[in-house]
C-alpha cells in the first residue's frame, strides 16, 4: 500500500513577504484528517521536487472542532482542518490561509479583528454594574435554552466572514458571528439587561444593515449556527428599537 495524498500549500514567510506555492505528498491512511496530514509534513518537510523546506506553520488546538483555530481554506472553502477528513476531498488538496484576515505565516492568520468586533457589539454579559444585577440563578424554559444553545456553539473560526461578500479587511461590516453573538447575549436572562445597548451597537456603520442577505454564512458555518435566522430576528428587534427611539418608549 503506497497510496499518496498530494497537498498544494500556499506559503508565506512573513506578513509582508510575497506568497508562493509548494507541493507535498503524504502516505494515505484510514481516517486521516488535514491536521494529521500537516503534522506528517512537519515531520518531514520535503516538497515533491525533493527540496527540504521550512515546516508549514498552522494553528490547531482542540482537535475536536470546538476552538476554531485550525480553520483554513481547504480546496478554496473555509473548513476546520482537524475535522475535515482527507478522503472526502478532491486531490490535489489545496490549503490556503483565510483570505479575509492578515496572514502571520503560511496558514496562520490574525483573527484579532473578530474579537475587537465582539467587543464592539458588547458580546458579553455584565453580572455586576454599579449595583448587583444577578439575582439568583435565572430560570429559562427548555425551549428557550435549546434555541440559545445553537448560538453558543460559535468558535470564532471566521468561516462565515470568509464566505461573506460584505465582509473584508477594508470593509466595516462586523459579519454574522458578531451579530449572532448579539442574538445570543440579548436572549440570556442576565444579558437581556443590556439588550438596548447591544442593539444600538449594531445600528451603526458596519452593523446589521450592512448585511446583503447573500446567506453564504449559514452554508459554511461548521457549527451549523442558524446565522440568517439571527439576522432576521435582529432585523425585527432593530426595527422595533428604531420605532422606540423615534417615538419614545419606557425602556
Amino acid at each position: 500500500m503506497s497510496e499518496k495524498i498530494q497537498f498544494r500549500i500556499r506559503r508565506q514567510d512573513t506578513p509582508y513577504s510575497p506568497a508562493y506555492w509548494q507541493t507535498f505528498q503524504v502516505p494515505f491512511r484510514e481516517g486521516l484528517n488535514v491536521v494529521s496530514a500537516l503534522m506528517m509534513i512537519r515531520q518531514n518537510p520535503l516538497t515533491t521536487d525533493g527540496m527540504k523546506v521550512d515546516p508549514v506553520a498552522w494553528e490547531f488546538n482542540c482537535m475536536e472542532e470546538v476552538c476554531g483555530a485550525c480553520t483554513m481554506l481547504i480546496n478554496h472553502r473555509p473548513m476546520p482542518a482537524c475535522s475535515t477528513l482527507v478522503d472526502t476531498l478532491q486531490q490535489p488538496i489545496t490549503l490556503e490561509p483565510l483570505s479575509k484576515f492578515p496572514v502571520i505565516r503560511d496558514l496562520m492568520v490574525d483573527r484579532s479583528r473578530m474579537f475587537a468586533d465582539l467587543k464592539r457589539v458588547r458580546a458579553w454579559i455584565e453580572i455586576d454594574g454599579a449595583w448587583d444585577i444577578h439575582q439568583g440563578a435565572p430560570r429559562i424554559s427548555p425551549e428557550h435554552w435549546r434555541d440559545n444553545y445553537l448560538y453558543s456553539r460559535c468558535m470564532s473560526c471566521g468561516s462565515c466572514l470568509e464566505a461573506c461578500p460584505q465582509y473584508g479587511q477594508m470593509l466595516p461590516f462586523v459579519g454574522a458571528a458578531a451579530l449572532a453573538a448579539v442574538r445570543l447575549m440579548n436572549n440570556h436572562p442576565t444579558g437581556k439587561y443590556h439588550r438596548k445597548q447591544r442593539l444600538h451597537a449594531i445600528m451603526v456603520e458596519g452593523g446589521l444593515s450592512d448585511c446583503g442577505n447573500a446567506q453564504n454564512c449559514v452554508q459554511v458555518c461548521p457549527k451549523e449556527i442558524p446565522l440568517t435566522t439571527a439576522i432576521g430576528e435582529l432585523g425585527r428587534e432593530t426595527t422595533v428599537q428604531m420605532l422606540k427611539d423615534l417615538f419614545g418608549s419606557a425602556d
Binding site: 478554496h76 472553502r77 464566505a163 461578500p165 460584505q166 473584508g168 470593509l171 466595516p172 461590516f173 442593539l199 444600538h200 451597537a201 445600528m203 451603526v204 456603520e205 452593523g207 444593515s209 450592512d210 448585511c211 446583503g212 442577505n213 447573500a214 446567506q215 453564504n216 452554508q219 459554511v220 442558524p226 440568517t228 435566522t229 439576522i231 432576521g232 430576528e233 435582529l234 432585523g235 425585527r236 428587534e237 432593530t238 426595527t239 422595533v240 428599537q241 428604531m242 427611539d245 423615534l246
Partner: protein, 210 residues
C-alpha cells in the same frame, strides 16, 4: 454614542430599503399595470390612460417627490452600497449568493435602462409635444424595432427581478421573515410576483405592436 436614529448610516440604509418598495417599487407596479392597458388600443390608451394621468393636479410635484427624488436617492445610495461589497460567486456558487450578485448587477442595469427610457419618453417629450399628444404611436415606433423591443424586455425583466428579490431581502432586513422556512415561503411568493409582473409588462409591450 451615536446609534440607531442618530446614526445616519443606519437610517440611510433603512431609508434606501424602504424607498425601494415605497414609492419606487409601488410606482413600478403601477407603471406596468398602467401600460398593460395598451391592448385596449390607441384611442383608449391616449385618452383614458395617459390622458387621465396628465390631467392630475400637481402632477409635476407628484412626479418629483413620489418618483424622481426617491428613485434618485435609492439609485445613488445603491451605488454606495455596491461599493461596500465584493461578489464571490465563483467560489460560492449558491442561489442566495447568485441573487445577492444579481441584485447588484440588476441595480446598475436598471439605472442605465431608466436613463434611456426616461430620456426617450418623458425628457424627449419636453421638446417634442407630438410625443405627449400621441404616446401610443411614439411607443409603437420604438417597440416595433426588434433591438429596442429586446432592450425594453431586458429592462423590464431586470427591474422586476430587482424589485421582487429586493422584497425578499427587505423582509429579512426589517425582520418580517426570520426562520429559514418563512424566508423560503417568502421567496416563493416573490418569485410568483416576479412572474406576474413580468407577464403584465410583456403583455403591455405587446399591446403597443400593430
Amino acid at each position: 454614542m451615536k446609534a440607531s436614529i442618530h446614526d445616519t448610516h443606519f437610517v440611510f440604509r433603512r431609508l434606501h430599503s424602504l424607498l425601494g418598495l415605497l414609492p419606487v417599487g409601488g410606482f413600478l407596479i403601477f407603471h406596468l399595470w398602467e401600460n398593460s392597458q395598451s391592448r385596449f388600443g390607441q384611442t383608449h390608451y391616449n385618452d383614458q390612460v395617459v390622458g387621465w394621468l396628465q390631467q392630475l393636479n400637481y402632477l409635476t410635484l407628484l412626479e418629483i417627490f413620489l418618483i424622481a427624488l426617491p428613485l434618485l436617492f435609492h439609485a445613488l445610495y445603491g451605488l454606495v452600497i455596491l461599493y461596500n461589497g465584493k461578489s464571490n460567486l465563483s467560489v460560492y456558487p449558491w442561489q442566495g449568493n447568485l441573487r445577492y450578485t444579481l441584485q447588484r448587477f440588476s441595480g446598475i442595469a436598471v439605472l442605465l435602462f431608466l436613463l434611456l427610457h426616461v430620456g426617450w419618453t418623458r425628457i424627449w417629450a419636453i421638446w417634442e409635444p407630438a410625443i405627449k399628444a400621441d404616446l401610443f404611436a411614439h411607443m409603437q415606433g420604438l417597440l416595433i424595432q426588434p433591438s429596442v423591443f429586446l432592450l425594453y424586455l431586458t429592462g423590464l425583466l431586470v427591474s422586476v427581478f430587482h424589485l421582487t428579490n429586493g422584497l425578499w431581502s427587505m423582509a429579512i432586513s426589517w425582520g418580517v421573515t426570520t426562520s429559514p422556512r418563512a424566508q423560503s415561503i417568502c421567496l416563493g411568493i416573490c418569485a410568483f410576483l416576479a412572474v406576474l409582473l413580468s407577464a403584465m409588462g410583456v403583455h403591455g409591450m405587446l399591446g403597443f405592436l400593430p
